[in-house]
């Protein structure tokens, strides 16, 4: 074993790319959950985004257009979940699982003609000055635009939830839909918007997989990334900054264990891959046992159906 073979600069650079899809999806899901809705269909929306983004990028030759369409597709698909759970008051857990089924089926039907093709991928940005810096240049400033967009989105979501009035309303709706309703806020409308934002983010995450990360379309290519995104939201205890940490940690552990293997470590690597989930559970226990803190971030109405009685 020779751990000196692992170059930390390259390791971090590749973690950033590896974590971007789950970061995007988890960020969207966090906003959805903040509004009090649990959408388990992230996997379905991600893979739909992956296929739609790929199809559009192939046909237009413009990967950015692919990303945009993938976001729209994710939002549209999530709207079906939104209508079912918010308007027709169906159970969110079951509907979310159904959404995953629907997304997986739909994506492989749509993607059939595009298997084995290669799409135009996003160029790496050539950031002047910063990109030429030693160490950090290669590590942080030589990525494609979506990596930076996802980081910007983390800041935007954080600022939105913390400082804007709309963010406050969203959190109020998630905290107590009845009180929010009594105050005159449109609970259903707020939640539908949050759900669509979540869908759009999941779509972007999926498109990042098919357009940058892998880059190709293959049936079932998300291979569980959507479920990891769900875990990250919990790990992050519903805070944008921690979603970033969570995504980089989850993505990082996969990359790290492969790097350790390549450096010659053969024992116990598969146990490393279950550690993020165990850490998530510990985090959950920690935040829930720390009730004394008034600032308890889990939305109180998560997963509950809301029906305005008057």
């Amino acid at each position: 074993m020779d751990l000196s073979n692992i170059n930390p600069i390259l390791l971090i650079a590749s973690i950033m790319i590896s974590a971007t899809p789950i970061l995007l999806a988890a960020l969207g899901e966090m906003v959805v959950e903040k509004s009090g809705v649990l959408n388990l269909g992230v996997e379905g929306m991600m893979i739909s985004g992956a296929v739609i983004g790929f199809i559009v990028a192939i046909n237009t030759g413009a990967p950015l257009l692919g990303f945009a369409t993938a976001a729209v597709a994710g939002a549209v698909l999530s709207l079906s979940f939104g209508i079912l759970t918010q308007v027709l008051l169906s159970n969110q857990v079951a509907t979310g699982l159904g959404l995953t089924l629907l997304g997986l089926g739909l994506s492989s039907l749509l993607g059939k003609p595009y298997e084995g093709m290669k799409a135009e991928t996003l160029p790496k940005l050539d950031i002047p000055v910063l990109g030429d810096l030693p160490v950090v240049g290669r590590m942080l400033f030589s990525h494609d635009i979506m990596v930076y967009l996802s980081l910007a989105l983390v800041v935007a979501v954080w600022a939105f939830l913390k400082y804007t009035r709309a963010g406050l309303i969203l959190r109020a709706v998630g905290e107590s839909h009845d009180s929010a309703h009594a105050l005159g806020y449109k609970v259903v409308r707020v939640r539908l918007l949050a759900i669509m934002f979540g869908g759009a983010c999941a779509g972007l995450g999926g498109a990042y997989l098919s357009l940058v990360r892998v880059p190709q379309w293959t049936e079932g290519m998300t291979a569980g990334a959507g479920w990891i995104a769900l875990a990250i939201v919990v790990f992050a205890s519903w805070r944008a900054g921690r979603v970033l940490i969570g995504a980089y940690l989850f993505g990082g552990i996969t990359v790290l264990q492969l790097n350790l293997q390549a450096a010659g470590l053969t024992w116990g690597v598969q146990y490393l891959s279950m550690s993020p989930y165990l850490i998530t559970i510990l985090v959950l226990v920690f935040i829930s046992s720390n009730r004394s803190r008034s600032n308890h971030d889990a939305p109180a109405t998560l997963g509950r159906t809301f029906h305005a009685t008057r």
Partner: protein
Amino acid sequence: MIRRTLLATAAAGLTLALGAPAMAQDDPTKACFVYVGPIGDGGWTYQHHQGALALQEEYGDAVEIAYQESVPEGADSERVITQMALSGCDIIFTTSFGYMDPTNNVAAKFPDVKFEHSTGYKREHPNVSTYNARFYEGRAVVGHIAGKMTETNKIGYIGSFPIPEVIMGINSYYHHAKLANPEVELVVTWAYTWFDPAKEADAARAMLDQGVDVITAHTDSTAPLAEIGKEDGSAWGFGQASDMAAFMTNEDGTPGPRIASIIDDWSPYYIKRVGQLMDGTYEQIDSWAGMPEGEVVIGEMNDAIPDDVKAEAEALIASIETGEYHPFTGPINKQDGSAWLAEGETAKDGTLLGMDFYIEGITGDIPN
């Protein structure tokens, strides 16, 4: 008597489905295929389906094919295989290791139907045959190319699971790389999956970051090749299971990251077996064919490979195809230095099929 009606009904159903004008023959032979992945996986299942299509092409109306994709191993596969037998399939190819027990179970109930299980070893009934291909022959050729192509003297292998099939491939790949380049060092990473494009890409990336510059994969997707392609011509890889020709040449015309490939070509076997079934010479067998029979094929080498290396690879292919060279020919020692094959001795099939050791020179342990 009953079987005849069954056949007729099934045939009618299929004709309707395919929209064929009418049945061309009274009693076409029906060959059915159970796939573990989607046909569009671009690798393992895709190649089996190519074999099925070649079979159809070969015999035309005399053969009908039917298939089912993404069949989970275990309980579901047993039901699917039974339904195929009921639907009038004359011969059923089950194309994943996990179908081994289900195939034998169903075979017991349908003695008149022939069953062919791929990559397994159980033939509990006279109507069960097994077939596999000597992929390690292909690994030998790409191993030689890898040994010659590497600049860093570090070559990589993305393993799926530590099973004999994969270990055999690793040993063959390393042995021939070492023969071509004594300085070569092998890096193995286990993905613990057959198919997860993102993870496969990560595995390739991890090795590239550590200075590996030629990688072969034992997983199904093209993701490692795409990842290697990001190195802009300083690292190389191979198509696995299918040709993965999309990665042979870059858009600007320069040679792409896929410098050669190991292709699983099942069509000769499918054509042979169904042909035997039709002319009455069919017998139970345990087939383990390879490059001589055309079941393992090395895809076109691209121009990244220098001509002399190409020639050497061609010579190696020829010697394996004629049967004069066995990729595991001694002297080869085991990893711990103990003797395995003496000078000129070739490996026994039994040892290979249960291979659970690395050969001398490979560092690291086989995970358990």
